[in-house]
């Protein structure tokens, strides 16, 4: 149904073998190292949060991105600070992939004074507009129209920049998402809709809540938009499809959409009993759809990076996250007297 050849059918769980001309496989050592570092950073960040939350120190709702790292990184490795993204309630991965300061994020999630958003945002609203991260969002579907607006700006700036809206499979049932898809086509702006289909909308399967569960991209297509599909649990599949998609969009052909088939490895939010999962489901997912494992296998087999390099990245990142966490735990809280600051620029 796609008007573009998809490097991977969304339903198949196995990592795809990249096209011979795979742009990802052409990446240099540094680029591959950075991609792996980013994915490992997301993984380590989330798994540490999973532990920290058990201590009761972290307040509010936290939605872990763990399992979907290849999606965020496979998309964002194509971007620079002038490209913009809008994220979701499950935004840590998008933030890290776009380059948000990990220490600032950890401080924010801990609700500290020096957090990226001064402790007002928490996990669900992290933003750093200065690097094109226009915000995680607690309202499902709210980001897509904002990406259209950012894309209007990008088009007027005329520098070939793009605006990307990350959405989940559940978000693609929200009216705002459809309005955004249609308006992006009408205004022919460089907006890109990335649908991360992780097969769950909270505790509900898309087979139930999404009339066309197996083909979310088809909905975008019905608005006359060119769409791609890829394996969101595989960096190479996602990166390659995005390379093709971005050539199309940056060339001024208007918006595009991509459906990324992926999995979340933890609950919808921390504390979720996950009774909706089948027996052995999580073990199977960790076994067959772990993007880090897939990446390691791919680059070592192809002789692009050696195991030692990857191990070093992992230990470096582990140290980084450990420091960030300890710093956050020890950091001072916000000053209650500032509760009503920054509501307006001037009032």
């Amino acid at each position: 149904m796609s008007t573009a050849t998809s490097s991977q059918a969304p339903s198949s769980p196995a990592p795809s073998s990249p096209a011979p001309s795979s742009p990802a496989m052409q990446l240099g050592r540094d680029a591959l190292t950075q991609a792996y570092r980013r994915m490992v950073t997301i993984r380590a960040f989330e798994e540490r949060l999973h532990e920290e939350i058990k201590t009761g120190e972290i307040a509010g709702f936290t939605h872990l991105y763990c399992g979907q790292e290849a999606a965020a990184v496979g998309v964002c490795e194509h971007l620079d600070n002038a490209d913009m993204i809008v994220s979701t309630h499950r935004g840590h991965g998008h933030c890290i992939a776009k380059g948000c300061d990990v220490q600032g994020m950890m401080l924010e999630i801990y609700g500290r004074r020096d957090g990226l958003c001064k402790g007002r945002a928490g996990s669900m609203h992290i933003a750093d507009v200065s690097i094109g991260m226009l915000g995680a969002n607690g309202i499902v579907g709210a980001g897509a129209p904002q990406a259209v607006g950012a894309a209007i700006a990008a088009k007027l700036d005329g520098k070939g920049k793009v605006a990307i809206a990350f959405s989940g499979d559940g978000a693609c049932n929200q009216g705002t998402t459809f309005e955004a898809l249609n308006m992006a086509v009408v205004l022919k702006v460089p907006a890109i809709f990335v649908f991360e289909n992780n097969h769950y909308s909270e505790h509900t399967g898309p087979a139930y809540a999404t009339a066309t569960a197996t083909d979310i991209a088809g909905r975008a297509e019905a608005f006359g938009m060119k769409v791609w599909r890829a394996n969101g649990s595989d960096f190479f599949s996602t990166y390659d499809a995005m390379a093709d998609l971005l050539d199309y969009v940056r060339a001024g052909n208007g918006p595009a959409a991509i459906e990324l088939d992926t999995e979340r490895f933890y609950g919808h939010f921390e504390g979720d009993p996950q009774r909706y999962r089948g027996p052995g489901e999580l073990d199977r997912l960790w076994e067959t759809r772990d993007c880090l494992k897939a990446f390691r296998a791919r680059v070592t087999e192809a002789g692009l990076l050696d195991a030692a390099t990857l191990d070093t990245i992992e230990s470096d990142v582990a140290a980084l996250i450990d420091t960030a966490t300890k710093t956050a735990r020890a950091a001072p809280p916000p000053d209650p007297s500032e509760v009503a600051d920054d509501v307006y620029v001037s009032y």
Partner: protein, 336 residues
């Protein structure tokens, strides 16, 4: 009389009322939980635990899990109500009126009037609201003032398990659209609940305690905070009347005016920013209708004109505090 918490009072009342009236149907996001998964229906049973077992007992025809489409959820409730049913729609967070307001405000609220009084729209919308869980700026708001301002809607806010049952029964047996607010921080509140039929008519406030020195008018979680403040004041021999409005539309003006006429001092406590709030609404009514009874400037204890921040220290600073209420009462009493 059974002892249960508000969550249990709501789920048991929904069970009982759905058994009583087959026209009652329920819809919302993840109210069944597990649809379309290996775990299967009821794997979770509702985010808030207020709809557990309904699907099993009454089936998918009457208990509908929906996509993430709040406008369609509320719109479907409006349509089903016009068609003779009694839908109970859940807004998982009251903040989601942002994506469904039209169907509440321009549709179900106006049908009866707009269509010449010849139809009714007996829909109940359950809105889970309020701060206290560090859910942040978009998942903690108290939107009752906005909905109270809208002609055609009734606005209800139980603070005890008994009222949760009584007010929900009244909502399900009445013929007007009802906005049924459930404070997420009050779900665990325990109390006695009358067995069998228990219907609490709207527009009748609950006198939580009578003290005579000043009148505290409030609702929702702020009722508890006001009681905390009252305990402190009692230690100094200061007695306050505490009025739990129960419903803000209709409003029990008499209860408010009677108390203020005897105390002459009014403190309104409202878990929301100050502008065009329920706090100013009550003060406006009292200033107009009990002007000569007022012995001191009415106090409005509200949150600041700011969104609700995430961090514990900030959220605590945002929400009106027992101390803030206590200080306001002392201010009114000290006023000369």
């Amino acid at each position: 009389m059974a002892i249960m918490n508000i969550r249990e009072a709501i789920v048991s009342t929904l069970h009982a009322e759905m058994a009583r009236d087959e026209k009652i149907i329920v819809l919302g996001e993840d109210i069944v939980g597990g649809m379309g998964t290996e775990g299967g229906p009821e794997a979770i049973g509702g985010i808030w635990g207020t709809t557990g077992g309904l699907y099993e007992k009454f089936g998918g025809g009457r208990v509908m899990d929906t996509p993430i489409s709040e406008s369609a959820i509320i719109g479907a409730a409006a349509g089903a109500a016009l068609a003779g049913y009694r839908p109970v729609a859940e807004l998982m967070f009251a903040d989601f009126v942002g994506v469904s307001l039209d169907q509440l405000w321009n549709q179900m609220a106006k049908f009866r009037y707009m269509f010449g009084g010849k139809t009714k729209c007996p829909a109940v919308v359950r809105l889970i609201y309020g701060a206290g869980m560090n859910a942040g700026p978009q998942h903690s708001q108290s939107v009752y003032a906005m909905l109270t301002s809208m002609p055609g809607l009734k606005v209800v806010m139980p603070t005890t398990p008994a009222d949760a049952k009584g007010l929900l029964c009244e909502a399900l047996r009445g013929d007007d659209p009802v906005m049924f607010f459930e404070h997420k921080a009050l779900y665990g509140t325990k109390g006695e609940v009358p067995d069998g039929d228990h219907v609490q008519p709207f527009g009748i406030a609950r006198m939580v305690r009578e003290g005579g020195d000043a009148t505290i008018v409030t609702c929702g979680r702020m009722v508890n905070f006001s009681e905390k403040a009252a305990d402190k004041l009692a230690a100094d021999g200061i007695g306050v009347d505490i009025i739990d409005l129960r419903t803000t539309s209709p409003l029990d003006e008499d209860a408010i005016l009677d108390s203020v006429e005897s105390t002459g001092r009014l403190i309104v406590v409202d878990e929301s920013p100050p502008r065009c709030s329920l706090a100013s609404d009550i003060v406006g009514i009292v200033a107009k209708k009990a002007f000569s009874s007022l012995k001191a400037p009415p106090e409005m204890v509200t949150a600041p004109h700011a969104p609700i921040p995430f961090a514990r220290e900030l959220e605590r600073a945002w929400v009106p505090s027992p101390k803030g209420i206590e200080d306001a009462v002392r201010r009114t009493l000290a006023w000369r």
